[in-house]
Every structure is written in C-alpha cells, then in structure tokens.
Symmetry: C2
Subunit: 444 residues, 2 copies
C-alpha cells in the first residue's frame, strides 16, 4: 500500500532521504511502499544529484502539506520559521510529521506536542539528536521500565572534532577551529556549535523524553569550548583525563547535607540538573573513547545500569537513516488500526510529569581549577586551607608548571556543592600569592 511522502527541504538531509526512497532494494520492504509525492525547495533551477519529475518540485511548502497525496510530512529545512508553522500546519491537517529540527523541537516542542496530541498524530524526531544513532526511540520504547538517573552525551560532532584534535596535536582552539571550517566540519558562523547551544537544544530534547516532561530550554546552564585553553587539555591528559563537551541531564536526589526544598522533587514531578560544559572524563570512562565527529549518549538508570549508544552524529547518510526510520515507524503503525485508531503512548511520547530545573548553586559537582600563582613556598597550603574552610574536599592539588617566578597549580575537588565551591574560589582569588583563577572546568 503506497504511502505518500512530502518533503520540506532538499538539502543534505533531504537529498539523503530521497536517495533511500529511490533505491528500496535490500532495505526493509516497507521502504518500497514509500512514494516521494512532493518536495518543497528554495530554488527550482538549482541542479540536483537526484532527478525528480519537475511537477513534484515546488517552492511552496504549504502546497506540499496540503497535497492530498501526501500522507506523511518530512521537515528537513531547518531553522525556526517557517519550520515551526509548517509543522503545526501539517498537524492541523491530521498528517504525521517527521522532523530533524532540534532547534524547533527544543524551543516549541511543548506547543507542537500539544497540537499533535489533540489532533491524534505522531511527530517523530529521531534525527534531531545524534544523527544516525538510534537514541530517541530507544529512550521512548526500550527504557520505560527504568528510573533514569542520568543522561549524558557527546552530542555535538563539531566540538568533539575540535577537542579530539586539540588533545591529539596539542593545538590551540582557534587554530583547529579555522581548520575545521576549511574542511567543512564547522560552519562559517560556528557559534551554535562551539558555544554549546546546539548541544543544549539536544539535551533538552533527550531529558524531556527520558524524564517524561518538557525541560525549559532557556534554563539550561550552557558553556561552550570557545574559551577553552589548550593548556587545560594538556594538563587534563597528564592527570589521566580527556576533555569533552558534555551535555548532562541528571536527576537530583535529596542529599544528606542539603535537605533543601530546591532539591526535592516537585509534587508529581522530578528535579533535574541539566547543563552543557567542557568536562574532564577519566580516560576509561565509556564516553572518553568517542573521537572525531562521532556522538555517543550514555543512559544510566535503575535497574538497567549503564547503556551507551554510539555512532555518526551528523552527515547526510546517517541523518537520512534516522528520518527514514521515523517514516517507517509511522507507516508500520498505520497498519495496526484504521483512521480512528488511538496513539501508541510510547511512540507518541506524551509527557507524564513535571520536570523542574534546580537552582544551580545547590547542585553537586567535581571541579578542575587552574590557578596562576607566584612560585613561592606556602601557596599550596593557603589554597588548601581556603577550600577546607568552605567544606570543599579536595582529591588532588598539583603544581604543574613553574617559570620566571610564576607557577600553575591545578586542583581537582571531590563532589562538592556549587555554592560552597564558588565561595572557596572567591576567597582563593583574594589570597596573597594567587594571581588568577585561570580556568575552571567540571570533572566527572
């Protein structure tokens, strides 16, 4: 039974999807049922690697949605508008939507989900996070028996490529970024990647699915790699760590020393610490071995323990694989019931509890701090005393470099409360002999 596909966008991902649909042989037999009915493009005259009958191409995306031959709308144009409005228009027309648009879903996911639930259609988003890695559907469909403790991931390929090269070559950030731009691994305007916004979009989506309720995108503490010093990458390596841009969503438990209402779960809900920042990972951590433009997501839950999903985080082929997976899921479930059929609650992933972001000052983390000091006796002792006074317990404190009367001291703390750690840093900055807090990173 033929299923009409309407494609909004024929860029890298759209062309990848069209290529799969055009060559079903050797793939799941349902692929052969998918017919590319209409495609919205920006410029009809542009030459394309795929030959499509000219009457299937249009510059009017609404015509694609409204075409009665189109059963499923696939949005791969990117950007916030008109993508958001087009997705809502498709939903209003009762047509299921597949989208790779993490920016729209991270910002308007709640509005879109509400419209989809009301109209009884699916909006599937496997391609929005982790490129070709099956991660959205496994979280929705394969881990529901668990209480999720933490979702952490390397979910931005550009920054992981840059960090991998900084670690391998000891190169500076700006230098590797310029090279990545030349090679096409980074955009001309790299802000969304290197400042962590793209990873924040994605962890908002993953957390919303893993914990069952929308996560406020604007509340995610986000730090990129754009101010990362090659020196800290090298020191981390000396101490047995690898620096990665990690996106983390963690369920916050009440802890013994802070029986605080900020930390307890909202009624019927869950309290989360969601953040993006460069992070020191121990060399044997499962995520430490993820190199180059690959992505990986580690999900920790009870009783499953740790499961990890690894693969190519971007690219036409991998992303198209994820888009087609979503199309197939919709095509498959259409065979279950007629037009009056209900929604599968796992595939529809409607939210079922409130997710509240906790006040960052009450969260607990391990930290890496690099201090620039005068090279003189007693400085390490004074620093240690300051941390101790703020109840910040220290794992190691090492002088790693000294020249011309200056020294560099690196401190790694145990897991400590953020406000106490900041208090200690304030006191240390004012110390005799301490010239600057030169860097401050998280440690896992």
């Amino acid at each position: 039974m033929a299923i009409g596909i309407g494609l909004l966008g024929l860029g890298t991902v759209g062309s990848g999807v069209a290529a799969i649909l055009a060559s079903p042989q050797g793939r799941h037999p349902l692929v052969a049922d998918l017919v590319l009915e209409r495609v919205a493009v920006r410029d009809l005259s542009r030459p394309r690697p795929l030959t499509l009958p000219p009457e299937r191409l249009t510059t009017d995306p609404e015509a694609v949605i409204d075409d009665p031959a189109v059963d499923i709308v696939v949005e791969v144009m990117g950007g916030l508008e008109p993508a958001r409005s087009l997705i809502l228009r498709a939903i209003a027309a009762g047509k299921p939507v597949v989208t790779a648009n993490k920016a729209v879903i991270a910002r308007y996911g709640q509005e879109i989900a509400a419209a989809a639930t009301e109209r009884g259609v699916y909006v599937l988003i496997e391609a929005a996070v982790g490129g070709g890695i099956p991660i959205i559907e496994p979280i929705k469909q394969s881990l529901g028996g668990n209480r999720i403790r933490r979702v952490s991931g390397i979910i931005n390929g550009t920054t992981n490529y840059i960090l991998s090269r900084m670690a391998d070559e000891g190169a500076a950030y700006a230098e590797v970024l310029a090279d990545a731009q030349r090679l096409g691994y980074a955009e001309a305007d790299p802000a969304a990647d290197v400042e962590g916004g793209d990873a924040a979009d994605k962890i908002a989506i993953l957390a919303g699915l893993a914990y069952g309720g929308p996560v406020e995108r604007g509340g995610i503490a986000t730090e990129g790699i754009d101010r990362l010093d090659a020196r800290d990458v090298a020191y981390a390596a000396q101490l047995g760590f690898v620096v990665k841009l990690l996106a983390v969503a963690e369920r916050v438990e009440d802890v013994a020393d802070a029986p605080d209402r900020h930390l307890s779960e909202p009624p019927g809900g869950v309290a989360l610490d969601v953040r993006v920042h460069p992070t020191l990972l121990p060399k044997h951590h499962p995520l430490a071995g993820v190199h180059g433009v690959n992505n990986a997501i580690l999900v920790e839950g009870d009783p499953v323990g740790q499961v990890m999903f690894f693969g190519p985080g971007a690219g036409a082929g991998p992303t198209a694989s994820a888009v087609v997976a979503d199309i197939l899921n919709i095509a498959g479930i259409r065979q279950v019931g007629g037009p009056q059929a209900g929604l599968d609650p796992l595939l529809a992933a409607s939210s079922w509890r409130h997710c509240a972001l906790v006040d960052g000052s009450r969260t607990h983390h391990r930290n890496y701090v690099r201090l620039r000091t005068r090279d003189e006796a007693g400085v390490i002792g004074r620093i240690g005393t300051c941390f101790g006074a703020a109840q910040v317990s220290i794992q190691s404190i090492v002088q790693l470099d000294a020249r011309e009367g200056e020294a560099e001291i690196v401190v790694i703390t145990h897991e400590v409360r953020e406000d106490r750690f900041r208090e200690a840093l304030g006191a240390i900055e004012a110390l005799e002999g301490v010239e600057a807090v030169a860097a401050c990173l998280r440690t896992l």
Copy 2:
C-alpha cells in the same frame, strides 16, 4: 487500564521483572497499569525476596497461560522444553509473548514466528540478546532504511570476562575460568558459554532480524575460547590487537576474484557469512574497549555507517529492564487498535527474504597464525614463499620468541579466501623446519 501479566519462572530474571512491576513510581506511567496476575514457579515452598499473595503462585505453567486475567505471557524459565511448548500454547490462546529465551528462539524461532503471524500476536525478545542493551528493537524499528553490511558483537559476558582477565593478568584460560566459576560469572558447566554456542544462538537471532529472514542455527561455524592459549593473547597485544570472542553476521558480496555462484545472493535473498570465533581486534576498534561482563553490538549499514550499542550483557536488573520494555511495547500498541487490529510489521518483524549461509571455504578473512619452528635461518623465507604460492598475501611475519633451538613465528595475513589460506597452511605444516601450526585465529 489494567493489563494482566503472567510470569513463567521466578528465578533471577523473573524476580527482577516482578520487582519493577511492584514499584512503578518514577518509571513510565504504563508500568503502573501492569498487574502481575499469576506466576509459575518450580517449588512453592522456596523463600523469595518478593512477597506475592500465595494464590498468585502455581507450579502449573499452563494454568498461568490459560488464566483469563493474563493478557501477556512472559517466559523467563529458560531451557528448550517446556518453554517452546508453553510459548506456542500462549500464541494459540491469542496471547502475546515476551521471552528472554535465546536458545528457544535461535532453534524454534521460525516455528514460533509462523504461529504468531497466523494468530496475529507479537512475540518480543529484547532480553534474548545483550541483556539490558536495547538492540533487538533498534534493529527492528530504527535501521530499516539501511542495507546492513555487517552485525558484529561481543554478546557473551562470561567469555568477555575471561578474555579481559587473560589480557590484563596474562593468566591462563583454565585458571581464569575456575576463578570465574567461583565468582558466579561462569556456570558449573561452562560449555554453552566458552564453546561459543550461546553467542551462536544470539548472532542467529540478530542476523535473522537484521537481514530479514531466519538463519540456520546449525550452519553457524562456531569456535569458542576453550582452546585459546594465553600466549596468543599476549602476542596479539604486542602486535596492537585485543582478543575478543566475536559473533559476526556479514553480507557476502560478489568479489572480483571469485564470481562464484556460492557467493552470489539467492534469488530474492541474501548470502551471509555467520560465525563465532576468537578474533584479534585492532586496539582502537570500537569493540576493543568492551571489558568484563559488558556486551556491545556494532551494526554497519548503508547509509548509516557504524552504530554501536553497549551495556550490561546479563544480570537480573538489566535483563528485567529489557523484558519490561517488551511488555510496555505490547501494552502501548494495544491502545492503538481494538481486538481486530493488525500487526505493526516492524514490531512483529516477520521475515521478508531468504537468508542463505555461504560455503565457508569461499569466504574472505584476515588471519593470525602462530607457528612453532626450529630456530634456524631460512624458515621465515620458506613460510612466506608458501603463502605466496597460494596467493595469500601477508601483512606481517614476525619471530616473537626463540629458545633452545625453537622459535615462534606469528603471521598476520591480509583478507584472503579461506580455501587458499587452508591450502597454504597445509603446505606450511609439511615444511622443513616447521614443527606445528600452534594457533590459528581470525583478525578483523
């Protein structure tokens, strides 16, 4: 809406499932709809960590299946019979089945699938491979747009534990096995694990799903780790490799030098090379970093590239997580259609093409060979000549040890056809100065 669960078996996995159902808070809200109606156990008097009302326990598994309050039958008793008959009985009663029983599925999967298709019920098996790792459903539901090239995995935790310790400690196989048995990581009768049968069961299942048709379990070439010498683990490490028990299912393409009918695809089908054997992996291969009782499965396809799934391969909690995922999928899809609903072809995973195992002698592999020779000039040259005469091209040939007139020579070949490689080995065994082919392993 309450959904009645009938559990066949209350061992490690069954107790794990019951524990999840007994504490739904914080898990997906569908878990709260699952009611453990009846449980079949072997011995009513045995003390159990869970308190269940006595009237829910029975020693008669058929009574569980026949109980009208039971909507989904969960088979976690293990073994071939009566498990197979009970699964068929549940299907005949129109009840969907969730099973963790890889032995039954690998041997009777075709019979069970045929019965399930005819009766229109699901038989889900996420827990049968890879413990808590979502792998079965991602292959079924998230990779259908791909042409799968290869599925390879570390899918037996016991042998991976033994190999990890052999590599870390330089210990002998028998010694580590005895220790693993003491620690409960290996069974008193370890044959199914260490001889590769368990991994063969699992790769048969994975290949059947990835390639869309049943794979003949009896035709899988299987070699375990029970004859592996610690010396080869050490030599492999010196050469930059890690030894793992790998299960591999690979699509065989026609190759230029062998336009052979054995290698071409059967009409409407696919030709596969499916095997289990100790394998040398390059140290940076994604599977090389999988240690201890963890499992990982690497799926390679077009256009997705490489995706890997990693996690705990066994244990009560992880396996129960997978079983509950299956139950939730069935519960979720029940909400789509009424009793007359059709099957979702992705979730049902009915087979859609013929999978034929190819003649092993025509397959292509890289090999590791250890030869025991006399320590004299000219031996390496004669060995090299023999390989060359059989058109076996060599990547490296190294003398790694020499004492008391004896030497050990390790050869790593390029990818070569198996029959030519065997021909070369035969000639080498007969060589002047060669005492024995002491070990022969695959290399990736």
